[in-house]
């Protein structure tokens, strides 16, 4: 097994104090210690070359899990093995095979050109010069930043910088690439480019990709498998369709009539309706599926009818909302 996580728990000890000025003054002398369980007994395994996405609300335990996978923090209980290494031992050989890209933490030297950081990476990771040049040229070309690698990092845009972060993380050909919010703060076009790049990189190099993101499109586009974490617990491990199937009792229907007929009386089983592209999008209870379709057909001549499952976004929103 490539990555094996068994019954892992992570507790944080935090000092809690009462609110307000009085609480702050009191906190100078006495502080109550509180134990917060960030990750609660999770187990999963990942095969080499898989693309796995963690989804969950803020504070669900996604980032804590990847911090443990990359060896930044120790698990409180349970065991983690990444290709036979315990990440928290931080062995040099382990570090040379794993890469962590943090959307809000830079690995680049701010005042120097990105090339200087790349070259330092070459020495630190013992990358042969010929391989380094080949990989750098290829990555820079794929990400379309060849002309920018000599510019000081501080003068690059956020999107350009993230591309440089990806290059610096991939130059040594890690077996596992872990990304924490890689598209945070990027414009739509940059987000799209990075998703496309990650997908292609995974397919070409068989690099295992593990990522977290609040943009579900990142996860949907890049990852085949989703790990849904809520309140520290792993509530689902499977494909996008499996999540939708398991957590959503609804289906989605788009209908447009030839004579612009309006749906005034909601057929039984319709949970919501909204106008869309001169027609209507209906969310329906799957159990009432036949009944709704029959009613819609009886209303008039149909110009277009699309039937599909709910979007991942809709399902995730429902889970977050506790429905």
């Amino acid at each position: 097994m490539h990555i094996q996580v068994e019954n892992v728990v992570k507790d944080y000890k935090i000092n809690s104090k009462e609110q307000g000025l009085k609480g702050s003054v009191k906190g100078l002398f006495t502080r109550e210690k509180k134990i917060v369980r960030a990750v609660d007994n999770i187990s999963f395994s990942i095969e080499e070359g898989e693309c796995v996405g963690f989804i969950g609300e803020n504070g669900a335990g996604k980032t804590t899990t990847i911090k443990m996978l990359s060896g930044l923090i120790y698990p409180s209980q349970g065991s983690i093995e990444v290709f036979n290494y315990k990440p928290a031992d931080r062995k040099k050989e382990f570090k040379k095979q794993i890469s962590l890209v943090m959307g809000n933490k830079s690995q680049l030297w701010w005042d120097l050109s990105a090339f200087e950081s790349f070259d330092l990476q070459r020495v630190l990771y013992d990358i042969p010069k010929a391989d380094f040049k080949k990989r750098l040229d290829r990555l820079a070309e794929t990400l379309n930043v060849t002309a920018l690698i000599e510019k000081p990092v501080r003068s690059l845009s956020l999107g350009e910088r993230m591309k440089m972060e990806l290059i610096v993380s991939l130059l040594y050909n890690p077996r596992v690439l872990i990304l924490d919010e890689p598209t945070i703060g990027l414009d739509l076009n940059s987000q799209k480019n990075i998703r496309k790049f990650l997908r292609e990189f995974n397919q070409e190099n068989k690099t295992t990709v593990i990522m977290t993101s609040h943009y579900l499109e990142d996860i949907e586009t890049v990852c085949d498998r989703l790990l849904f974490i809520q309140k520290g617990k792993l509530i689902h491990d499977g494909t996008k369709d499996e999540i939708i199937e398991r957590f959503s009792q609804d289906a989605r229907i788009y209908v447009r009539y030839k004579n612009n007929i309006a749906i005034t009386d909601l057929p039984k089983g319709v949970t919501s309706i909204k106008p869309k592209d001169e027609g209507f999008e209906l969310h329906i209870n799957k159990e009432e599926y036949n009944n709704v379709i029959r009613t819609l057909l009886n209303l008039g001549d149909i110009d277009k009818l699309d039937i599909g499952g709910m979007s991942l976004e809709h399902v995730v929103e429902k889970i977050y909302g506790g429905e």
């Binding site: 944080y12 980032t63 911090k67 990359s70 060896g71 930044l72 923090i73 120790y74 931080r90 040099k92 570090k95 040379k96 794993i98 890469s99 962590l100 943090m102 809000n104 933490k105 830079s106 690995q107 030297w109 005042d111 120097l112 200087e116 950081s117 070259d119 330092l120 020495v123 630190l124 990771y125 924490d180």
Partner: protein, 270 residues
């Protein structure tokens, strides 16, 4: 080779340091002002006729030499930003970046220290030579090659001891979260204990003896006293041995505290 990795870090951080050319000039200006105050102070003390016997047999010339040399060593051996930088790197989760690299954080900081001290040396050597030139009639020149050689060996040791003491205090951030209040206290206290405010020879014998068994005098007083031939070969040997013991002790302490600290690390800010 592991050493080539740290040499590369030195090279890159040197380039990074040179980006801030303005710092060179401001460092020079801010450096001269307190030195001038110190020299004026001692000139006044000797001017009102305080006897040398009351000042541990320090002649005016010796005192000015110690003041200039002490000031220079204080600036040169102590990296004032180290404690705050390491502390904020721990607090803000920046050390995550180093924990992921196949090099050690301590050694990376030693590489930064070497760069930083080289830049300081290049920046400060000319201004201090100018100061010495201006006070050439009061400054004692050491012509004993053996003492001068030991003096040049004592300087890297002083830099390393100062680095390890400050590094150790910064590592307290793993437990205390914020050591900025400690910073102000430690910087002034360490400077006092190292002999940065006045020569430790002015202290009572018992205090001097006690202090010489702590790491602080080896940051400043010890190299200055060697240069000024205030210590005989036997004392240099004895105190040199204490300095070596402190280097080993501080290395071990840094390693233990780091290992315990990273176990508590929660990589905040990520």
């Amino acid at each position: 080779m592991q050493i080539s990795k740290y040499l590369s870090i030195i090279k890159v951080s040197m380039q990074d340091n040179l980006e801030y050319r303005f710092n060179f000039f401001t460092t020079f200006i801010f450096m001269i002002a307190p030195l001038a105050v110190h020299i004026c102070l001692w000139s006044t003390v000797y001017g009102v006729g305080v006897s040398e016997a009351n000042l541990s047999n320090y002649s005016y010339q010796m005192m000015i030499t110690y003041t200039i040399l002490g000031h220079c060593l204080d600036k040169f051996t102590g990296d004032v930003n180290l404690q705050l930088r390491v502390s904020s790197e721990i607090r803000d989760g920046v050390i995550s970046k180093y924990l992921l690299l196949p090099v050690s954080y301590f050694n990376t900081n030693v590489s930064y220290l070497i760069t930083n001290r080289m830049v300081y040396f290049v920046t400060l050597i000319i201004p201090y030579l100018l100061v010495i030139f201006c006070f050439r009639s009061q400054f004692m020149f050491n012509s004993d090659p053996m003492y001068f050689l030991i003096f040049t060996i004592a300087i890297p040791a002083a830099i390393f001891i100062s680095f390890m003491v400050n590094h150790l205090i910064a590592l307290a951030t793993f437990w205390l979260k914020d050591v900025s209040s400690l910073y102000v206290f430690t910087q002034s206290t360490f400077s006092f204990l190292a002999g940065g405010y006045f020569t430790l020879d002015l202290l009572p014998t018992w205090a001097f003896n006690l202090l010489m068994h702590t790491p602080f005098p080896y940051i400043l007083y010890f190299p200055a006293a060697i240069y000024m031939k205030k210590l005989d070969p036997g004392q240099i040997k004895y105190y040199g041995m204490i300095a070596c013991i402190w280097i080993v002790v501080l290395l071990i302490l840094n390693s233990i505290v780091w290992k315990c600290g990273v176990k508590r690390y929660s990589a905040d800010g990520m």
